[in-house]
Symmetry: C2
Subunit: 387 residues, 2 copies
C-alpha cells in the first residue's frame, strides 16, 4: 500500500446555522480544503463523504452525487458512507484506502450534517437510528439514556463521580473558547454542569454534545507527491475500524467500548506506536462519559482512571496529553456526519502548528477517535508530521 498524506483541511463554523443549508455547508468546507491545498478542483479524482441521516433530516439521500454536483466536480466517482456518528471517520478511511490502493491519487473527503431543519423530537428519532431500533429506540431508549446507563456502570465499577464527568465538559469548553469554529466559545465551571437540567441521570444538559450544523473536509494524496501541493503535509500512518453489537445489551462490558479497544490495538500495530507516543488526540465525547471511556480504551489511562485523570488536569491542553483541543463534540459541536472529518482537520492543524491559542506544543503524533452509536462502530486514525 502507498503512504497517504493530508494536503488540505478546512471546515465551516459549527453551530445552529439557520441561514444555511446542507449544500452551503459542505461547499464552504470543500472550498476551504481545496484552497488550503492550493487546488482548483479539477485535480480531484474521487470524493468520499460521511453523512449520517440526511434522509430523515432533510429528505435527501444520494449525497455523494449531490456534493460532486454542487461542488462542480462531476463526473468523478463520489461515494457517501454512513456509520452513524462515525460516518466522517469511515469516509476518511475509504479515502485513505482509495489513495493507498493506487486507485486514485488526489481524493477529497468530506463530512456534513444539517440537523436544525427538523424539530428536536425528529432529531432524536433520526439519531436513534444509530442504535438498534428494534431493541432500543422503539422501546424509548434514546442516546442520552443509553450513555447514562454506561455512566452509571462506570461510576459503580470505578467510583467515577459526577464532578469528574463535569470536568470533561469544563476542559472542552475551555479549549473551544480558543476555537473560532466552535459552537460554544464560552468557558463554564463545574457548577454550570452540575446545576444544569437533568437529561438522563447522571447526565445533565452540559454533559451532552449539542445539535449542530456543520461540515469539514480534507484532501488526501500519496505522501511522495504531497510536497508538491503543501509545505506542511501530515501523514496518515494508521487507519483502523471495528464493529460491535448495535444494542447495548449484547456487549461484554458497559463501562468500556470494545470496538474502540480493537480499532486502537490495530491502529497502534499499523503505526508501530504505543499510546504514550501520542501528544494530541481528538476523541469522541458525545457525552462526557464517552470521553472518559475513550481515554481509557485508547490506552492513555488505565481502566477506571479516566475520570480522575481529567479532574486532575492530565488531559488539558499541554498537560500529559492534550485531549480534544478543538473543544471536542461537547464544545465544538457535533454535526454527526461531519465530526469524524473535523477531528482530522483539527489534528492536521495541530501537527502543522497552526492551531493558534489552543496549539499543543511540539505535537509530532496525533490521533483521532470517532464512534458510531453507542460503540457499534469505532474508527481510529493516527497521524504524523511529515515535514
Amino acid at each position: 500500500m502507498r503512504k497517504v498524506a493530508i494536503i488540505g483541511a478546512g471546515m465551516t463554523k459549527f453551530g445552529e446555522e439557520w441561514g444555511r443549508g446542507f449544500r452551503d455547508l459542505i461547499i464552504e468546507a470543500g472550498k476551504a480544503s481545496l484552497e488550503d491545498a492550493k487546488l482548483q478542483g479539477e485535480e480531484i479524482e474521487a470524493l468520499f463523504v460521511g453523512t449520517m441521516a440526511s434522509g430523515s433530516l432533510i429528505g435527501q439521500e444520494h449525497t455523494g452525487a449531490l456534493i460532486a454536483d454542487f461542488m462542480g466536480l462531476t463526473p468523478i466517482p463520489s461515494t457517501r458512507v454512513e456509520a452513524a456518528c462515525a460516518s466522517g471517520g469511515v469516509a476518511l478511511r475509504q479515502g485513505f484506502m482509495a489513495v493507498a490502493s493506487g486507485m486514485h491519487d488526489i481524493v477529497a473527503v468530506g463530512g456534513v450534517e444539517k440537523m436544525t431543519d427538523v424539530d428536536g423530537g425528529n432529531v432524536a428519532l433520526a439519531l436513534g437510528g444509530a442504535g438498534d431500533q428494534e431493541w432500543e429506540l422503539f422501546t424509548g431508549a434514546t442516546f442520552p439514556g443509553i450513555y447514562a446507563m454506561m455512566a452509571r456502570r462506570h461510576m459503580l465499577e470505578y467510583g467515577t463521580t459526577e464532578e469528574q464527568l463535569a470536568s470533561v465538559a469544563v476542559k472542552n469548553h475551555k479549549n473551544a473558547s480558543m476555537n473560532k469554529y466552535a459552537q460554544f466559545q464560552n468557558e463554564i465551571t463545574i457548577d454550570t454542569v452540575l446545576k444544569s437540567k437533568q437529561v438522563a441521570s447522571p447526565l445533565k444538559v452540559f454533559d451532552c454534545s449539542p445539535v449542530t450544523d456543520g461540515a469539514a473536509a480534507v484532501i488526501l494524496c500519496p505522501l511522495d507527491k504531497a510536497q508538491k501541493y503543501c509545505e506542511k503535509p501530515v501523514e496518515i500512518i494508521a487507519s483502523a475500524q471495528a464493529s460491535d453489537t448495535l444494542a447495548l445489551h449484547g456487549r461484554r462490558s458497559l463501562s468500556s467500548i470494545y470496538a474502540t479497544q480493537v480499532a486502537a490495538k490495530n491502529a497502534y500495530a499499523m503505526a508501530k506506536l504505543q499510546p504514550k507516543d501520542i501528544q494530541v488526540a481528538e476523541v469522541h465525547d458525545c457525552f462526557t462519559i464517552a470521553e472518559i471511556m475513550a481515554i481509557e480504551d485508547l490506552g492513555f489511562f488505565a481502566s477506571g482512571k479516566g475520570g480522575k485523570a481529567t479532574e486532575e488536569g492530565k488531559t488539558a491542553l499541554n498537560s500529559d496529553i492534550s485531549i480534544n483541543t478543538s473543544g471536542g463534540l461537547k464544545g465544538c459541536g457535533h454535526p454527526v456526519g461531519a465530526t469524524g472529518v473535523k477531528q482530522a482537520v483539527e489534528i492536521a492543524w495541530q501537527l502543522r502548528g497552526s492551531a493558534g491559542a489552543r496549539q499543543a506544543k511540539d505535537a509530532q503524533i496525533g490521533l483521532t477517535h470517532n464512534v458510531g452509536g453507542s460503540g457499534a462502530t469505532a474508527v481510529v486514525h493516527i497521524y504524523k508530521k511529515a515535514f
Copy 2:
C-alpha cells in the same frame, strides 16, 4: 493493485416478503454466499453493505454495524455505503478496493433493502431522496415522472416507440420466468404492457420495476488465493464509477445517461476490452426506457438504436448479447440497495455456467451496470471467467 475474484455468491428470493425483516433478508443472503465459498464466517476481514433508505423505510441507520452484529461477524470493520439505487454497485466497488489495495484479503459485500414496511406514499418519498429534493421531489417530480421525461425525449429524438419500451418488459419477464429468485416469474405480452395502467405517460405499470424486499451478497478475495476457496472463481477485471448532476435539468442530454458513458469508458479501458467483447450483462432497467438508454450508453448499440434492437430480439437470451438474464430490475424486482450486488451474483452464476434454464451459452465476459437516481451515479463492473 492486486487482482480480485468473486469466490461466493448468494441471494434471497426477491419479492414482497411480509414475513421477513431487514435482518432476516441480509442474513439469508450472507449465509448463502458464505456457504457457496465454503467459509464459516471467521475468515471474513471486512464487510461492505449497500442500503439506500433504511433510515426512512425502517427507522434504522448504521446498517454496516447491524449486519456485522447479526451475522456474528463483530469486531470486523463493517461499512455501509449509499448511492441511491446504485448503493449495491458502489458497495461492491469499495470491497474491490479493499482487496485490491492489500488492506484486506477476504471481504464480504452485501446489498439489502426492506421496502414493504411502509406504505407506497412513503416509499415514493424515500426513493425521491435519490433525486434532487429541493428541485425535484419537493415540486412533485417523483421517479416515474422523471424517467417519463427521458422516455419522451428519446422518442422525440430517435422515434423510439411505446411498443419498443414494452419489448424490454416482455423480454425481462421471460428471463425472470426461468429464475426462481425473481419476484415475477410469469411471462407477459406486449399487450399486457400497453394495456396496463398509465403511471407517467408514456410509462405504464409494466414499464416500471416493482417495490421489492430482498438481499444479495458476494465474497471477494485476491485472485491468487481464489482457487483455495472456489473451483470456479470469477475475476473482477474492471470497476468504474461516475457522477452527474442530481437533477435532470442540469444534464447535457435527457436521452442518455452521461455518468454511464463515463463509467463504461473507464471500465472498458481498465479491462482493455470493448463493448463487443461482452456476452452477458445485467443493466439497470428501473424503467423500460432505462434499459434502452443503458444498452446504448454502454456501447452495445448505437444511440437511438436500443429500442429497435430490443424489439428485434437482439438482447434476448443467447442472441447478439444476453441482457438482464436474471429478469433485470423489472422481472427480478428492485430492492434498491440490493440490486447492484444481485447483478454481480447473476453474472458470477452466468460465468460459472450455473444459471440453469436462463444460461447464456459460453459466457466468458460479463458486465454489470447499476444506476443511482436518474443517473447522478453510475457504476460499471466487468467480470471474467477465471477457471
